[in-house]
């Protein structure tokens, strides 16, 4: 039965090496000898190299590419023995295209670190330009009222807000439940279970409520914004808008941004109320009635905690929506770019939320909240 893979014998000669190939030197069989052949040719650099093809059973463009790669590693043409006209013709084609590759790869690319730095500056510049475009779109809105479509705003608010309510409520309830239970177990040792109500309510109102709602918005809505706008970009719908004299920021970004900004306080409030209910369930199981828990929450939390959290949530919403829309608008070409934009929207949204939360912490501290 014929061999399925090619074989290679390397012989040292007076002034160089002889690579004797046998068997099928084609797509199916060349893989077995590719690396040994290229390595042997590289070792023979500076000396004569002979390809003995007298024993080959089959030869195609893959075999020709192998010989061309070996010659490239050898840094010089080899002497071909035992080849017919067809083999030589294929090898000539492979040599031509191998030469094209070397010429092209010789072009210098900028070093990776510089490229990354430049890319970072460009991204920062594009981000600033996008922010400017949003501000301009807001300022120009009185003259572009037709472009701001109320129906689009309602659709986005419905998707980002109403449709997210069940998820937000259930996550909030579970978060309150888990937080209260995990706190109550150790605090019971000190007889301080009652203070679990203070801990959970303050954490939810000031931090966890807006943060968790932002995480949901980033994961659920920002990615959808990026994918939707990104697909429009890939399908040249954005180009079509611009060519018709329509501003994509006013038409696509502002409705989403305003929708996210307005629904976020409601989502946050829903999450906080659900969390407090979850906490109350745990407190009840530890023997504290609803009245005591309510009094404890009212005594230890202030309207400032609630309002501060909701303001923060609105800002988170606007920033996350802006990042999602910007990711969509900066989508490249092809379906892969849409996926990358959606990922960038979620990652960007989460990182920005955490960073902004730190800024708010300092800001509120200075204001005495």
């Amino acid at each position: 039965m014929a061999d399925k893979t090619a074989s290679l014998t390397v012989r040292a000669e007076t002034d160089g090496s002889r690579l004797a190939f046998a068997g099928p030197l084609d797509a199916a069989g060349a893989g077995a000898v590719w690396r040994p052949a290229v390595a042997a040719a590289r070792r023979a650099r500076g000396h004569a190299l002979v390809f003995d093809l007298g024993g080959i059973a089959a030869f195609d463009m893959t075999g020709a590419a192998l010989l061309a790669a070996a010659e490239s590693a050898h840094d010089g043409a080899a002497t071909i023995e035992g080849a017919d006209a067809r083999v030589l013709s294929l090898l000539a084609h492979a040599r031509d295209n191998q030469a094209g590759r070397k010429a092209r790869s010789a072009r210098a690319d900028p070093p990776g670190s510089w490229r990354d730095l430049l890319r970072g500056f460009r991204a920062a510049g594009e981000g600033a330009a996008f922010l400017g475009a949003v501000v301009l779109a807001v300022l120009a809105l009185p003259w572009r009222r037709r472009m701001f479509q109320g129906r689009e705003f309602l659709r986005q608010a419905d998707h980002a807000g109403v449709h997210a309510l069940p998820l937000v409520a259930s996550l909030g309830f579970l978060m309150g439940l888990i937080l209260a239970f995990q706190s109550a177990v150790p605090m019971r040792q000190f007889g301080a279970v009652l203070y679990v109500a203070n801990l959970v309510s303050v954490s939810l109102l000031r931090e966890l409520g807006p943060l968790l709602a932002a995480v949901i918005l980033a994961g659920r809505t920002a990615s959808a914004f990026a994918a939707e706008i990104g697909t429009m970009k890939v399908n040249q719908e954005i180009d079509a808008l611009v060519s018709m004299g329509l501003d994509p920021v006013t038409m696509l970004v502002l409705p989403r941004l305003v929708a996210a900004l307005l629904v976020m306080p409601f989502l946050t409030l829903t999450l906080e109320i659900s969390g407090l209910i979850g906490m109350a369930v745990v407190m009840k199981s530890f023997g504290f009635g609803l009245g005591i828990v309510e009094a404890q929450v009212q005594y230890w939390t202030t309207p400032g905690d609630l309002v501060g959290g909701l303001v923060k949530a609105a800002v988170f919403g606007a920033v996350i929506a802006a990042i999602g829309c910007r990711s969509g608008l900066s989508t490249g070409v092809g379906p892969r770019s849409v996926g990358l934009s959606a990922t960038a929207a979620v990652v960007g949204g989460l990182v920005s939320t955490i960073a902004l939360d730190g800024v708010f912490a300092v800001f509120y501290n200075r204001l005495g909240f």
């Binding site: 797509a27 199916a28 060349a30 893989g31 195609d60 893959t62 013709s89 295209n97």
Partner: protein, 248 residues
């Protein structure tokens, strides 16, 4: 034969392709030429009849293994290119090698670059399909189809949607590849200029070859068909003459 429900699309379509030739299946829209191609490449079983590739029957329930074997020995390009958008052109050409050969990664890349070089796309190897023109996508699809050096290549409407200059370039590429790879080409097209430029032989399908079905209305050298055929439909196709009244 191909039949959908009670409707017979075509029947009595019988032809042999000789090794090393460019064989064209031509005809107007809706005559079933793409269906014939789908049958040849194993995407659609014929309602009746059989297909042999390299002397081995590849149709019928008992020919599953032969069909699988044959599919490794053919290369196919589709009308829209059908390149994988998530891969670069190099990645597209490397994919069949990754699936069906033991070539190490650097070998796959080297072979793929040679294949892209053969179709004139050396400098576009790292671009994605969405970043290139329609003509380049067609050539990249041909490079992918030749990835495993198949002896038989099927091209579905390779010139569709291309300007005449690009289309002529693609015709030259097919002839160059035939010369360099020694492959056999089966091309489905209705582009007259391409047919006359590349075809050694052809068959012409027509949706009304029979009263109740489509089929072959002419076969042979397309230049001779153009000059010598007496069939009104063949003359209408090759000479751009209007069909006489009463001829569908």
């Amino acid at each position: 034969m191909q039949q959908f429900g009670d409707r017979v699309i075509f029947r009595d379509v019988s032809f042999k392709v000789t090794e090393g030739e460019v064989f064209v299946i031509l005809g107007g829209s809706g005559c079933g030429k793409s269906t014939v191609l789908r049958q040849l490449i194993g995407l659609q079983p014929p309602s009746a009849g059989s297909i042999e590739i390299a002397g081995v029957r590849v149709t019928g329930d008992d020919a599953w293994a032969a069909r699988q074997q044959a599919q490794r020995r053919i290369g196919v390009t589709f009308q829209a290119g059908a390149l994988f958008g998530s891969l670069t052109l190099l990645g597209n050409v490397m994919l069949p090698m990754e699936m069906f050969t033991d070539l190490p990664p650097e070998a796959r890349a080297a072979v793929a670059r040679v294949k892209l070089g053969l179709v004139g796309l050396t400098d576009a190897a790292d671009q994605y399909p969405a970043e290139i023109s329609g003509g380049m996508a067609k050539r990249a699809a041909i490079a992918r189809a030749t990835a495993l050096d198949p002896p038989l290549l099927f091209l579905d409407e390779p010139s569709a949607g291309l300007d005449p200059v690009t289309s002529a370039g693609l015709d030259r590429l097919i002839l160059d590849l035939r010369a360099s790879l020694g492959a056999t080409f089966v091309v489905v097209t209705h582009e007259l200029a391409s047919i006359l430029a590349i075809a050694d032989r052809c068959i012409m399908l027509d949706a009304h070859a029979f009263p109740d079905a489509g089929g072959v209305i002419a076969a042979g050298d397309p230049r001779r068909l153009r000059d010598e055929s007496e069939d009104a439909r063949v003359r209408a196709f090759f000479r751009r003459e209007p069909l006489p009244a009463g001829v569908a």
